[in-house]
């Protein structure tokens, strides 16, 4: 019973998105008698709702931001766990502190900085912001994963003549692969779903990420973009993260536990 009530919103949205306005007035709750894909078409097309374009923007923003934040954080975590770094612990505590900062409060300076380097209203600007913000979380998780790698492994690699770069790429990265996957999927979900900075830092539909696109759609209800179209747009927008979740469910659960329970 619980599951059913929990899933009603999904059922409602899916059936709604498959019905025409006419069918809605006569058959609101039933399974669509004559499913139409008009709503999805209007949601997708750039002339109307434009979710197709927004989705591409979202990927252009999310993928580089995830790669940058995960890779840089991996380097940093390596430095602070395995390299005898004097400031290692200090950096780690700064990162924990960073996790507690409500990032929304950074928005005015960020807006100002991006404006002055002409990256306001650009995907590159969003990549910069999201990859920087992601570092605290990624370092927090990756540091814990890397800490569990035994030091003896590195010692023997050093004796065999590996330099630190080789050690990083040949030993550390492969051994902390679970951690890398966990932070990658979490970063992807966070950044893809982010709305606040998207709204504040973009101004026209050529660069809108999909969350902003949906928010704008929701705000301007026109004759062509009625709410069944909004429902379709919302569904399209949620496909990537749901697919990611279903494919990597195991890692999601593990990540939540690693992030919350370990510390």
């Amino acid at each position: 019973v619980l599951v059913t009530t929990y899933l009603i919103p999904f059922y409602g949205v899916v059936t709604l998105s498959l019905k025409s306005m006419n069918e809605l007035s006569s058959n609101y709750w039933g399974i669509p008698r004559d499913p139409i894909f008009e709503n999805f078409k209007s949601a997708w097309s750039y002339g109307l709702a434009g979710v197709g374009k927004y989705l591409i923007n979202s990927f252009k923003m999310t993928i580089p931001a995830v790669i940058i934040s995960v890779f840089f954080s991996a380097l940093l975590s390596f430095a602070i766990t395995k390299m005898n770094f004097r400031f290692g612990n200090l950096i780690y505590y700064i990162m924990i502190f960073g996790l507690a900062i409500p990032v929304q409060i950074l928005v005015i300076p960020i807006f100002y900085i991006l404006n002055s380097v002409h990256l306001y209203n650009s995907i590159a600007g969003l990549v910069w912001v999201h990859s920087a913000i992601g570092i605290a979380f990624c370092t927090f998780i990756l540091r814990n994963f890397m800490k569990s790698i035994p030091d003896e492994l590195l010692e023997s690699a050093k004796i065999d003549g590996c330099n630190m770069f080789n050690i990083f790429f040949r030993i550390i990265l492969p051994l902390s692969i679970t951690g890398i996957i966990v932070v990658t999927i979490f970063q992807f979900t966070f950044i893809y779903n982010e709305l606040f900075f998207g709204l504040a830092l973009t101004a026209d539909r050529d660069v809108f990420p999909v969350t902003v696109g949906i928010a704008v759609l929701k705000g301007e209800e026109t004759l062509a973009i009625r709410w069944p179209v909004q429902a379709a747009a919302a569904l399209i927008a949620s496909i990537p993260t749901i697919v990611l979740f279903l494919a990597l469910q195991r890692y999601f659960m593990r990540g939540i536990m690693a992030g919350a329970i370990k510390e």
Binding site: V3, F10, L24, I68, I80, I108, I135, L195
Partner: protein, 296 residues
């Protein structure tokens, strides 16, 4: 001498590994954080305008504004609701799922999927649920021939807040459930078996054995929910934009609107600092709790 030289060349300084991340982090987190505090003492009406030092008058202005207090009150309502409902629901679902094994992954997925979709999407879905004309609830009441019960949730100054929170409850429950499942898995099976042997029934086991052992997880869940409540923004801007008559306003949205609607950067920074201080209080409380638990 030769070997020494070679060794130095190979042993890279940790600075080179940490510099990219640290520079990036400083540019978009550390520097803006300091800058926000700086702005809060200035009168600044948008990029391209001059900044004028005004002391603490931004702070006075913000605390005099009744809307700030409405937003604060709503954030408290958010916190109370999120503190109670998803925590309890998540706990019971976790207990139920851990008992019955069949189809467990399907149920877990079903509860967790709302947690991976964006709050923007959830906002659209919950607007469709609560809207007056052809909303799910309205139509359902029509269907039951109870149309006299129909309420315009999103247009009501008392109910709209709860409509916006509903989406967060829907999302947060699955996340809490996963945390509880992790916690329950961590409990030693032998402890549970011992309690059964001693004649405890299952309610008793849950009440006296599982709950106390889960205290650390519970405190984590609670803190997470409180932080979510303090940062709430997406659902409110999607569903009501803070209206009607600011009745659903929350601090983060007010901050956003003050900065990008009214171009009042100073007061907006003050609101940001207010959110920060509130979050920091819970953060400190959280660390204290953890330390207490570790000590015994």
């Amino acid at each position: 001498v030769v070997t020494l030289k070679r060794k130095r060349k190979l042993d890279l300084n940790p600075i080179w590994f940490s510099a990219p991340a640290l520079i990036l982090y400083a540019s978009m987190v550390v520097y803006p954080l300091i800058f926000t505090i700086f702005i809060s003492f200035f009168d600044w009406r948008g990029v391209g305008y001059e900044r004028k030092y005004v002391g603490i008058s931004n702070y006075i202005e913000v605390f005099k504004d009744p809307v700030t207090w409405i937003a604060l009150k709503n954030n408290v309502i958010w916190m109370v609701v999120l503190l109670v409902i998803p925590t309890i629901l998540g706990f019971f679902i976790a207990i139920l799922l851990e008992k019955s094994v069949r189809g467990e992954w399907f149920f877990k997925g079903a509860f967790y999927i709302p947690g991976v979709i964006s709050l923007a999407t959830t906002g659209v879905i919950f607007s469709l649920i609560f809207r007056f004309r052809h909303g799910f609830i309205s139509e359902f009441l029509d269907f039951l021939k109870l149309d006299f019960l129909k309420v315009d949730f999103l247009g009501s100054t008392t109910l709209a807040v709860f409509a916006t929170i509903a989406g967060a409850v829907w999302q947060q429950t699955g996340f809490n459930m996963v945390l509880f499942i992790a916690g329950i898995r961590g409990i030693n099976v032998e402890v549970l078996e011992a309690s059964y042997i001693d004649g405890a029934n299952s309610t008793g086991t849950v009440r006296y054995i599982v709950l106390p052992l889960l205290t650390p997880v519970i405190s984590i869940v609670v803190i997470f929910n409180l932080l979510v409540a303090l940062k709430s923004f997406d659902l409110v801007i999607l569903m009501t934009r803070g209206g009607p008559f600011s009745s659903t306003q929350v601090l983060a949205l007010l901050m956003y609107q003050t900065a990008f609607g009214k171009q009042l950067f100073g007061p907006s920074a003050v609101l940001g600092i207010l959110i920060f201080i509130l979050c920091a209080c819970f953060g400190i409380f959280y660390v204290r709790q953890l330390q207490k638990l570790e000590r015994g």
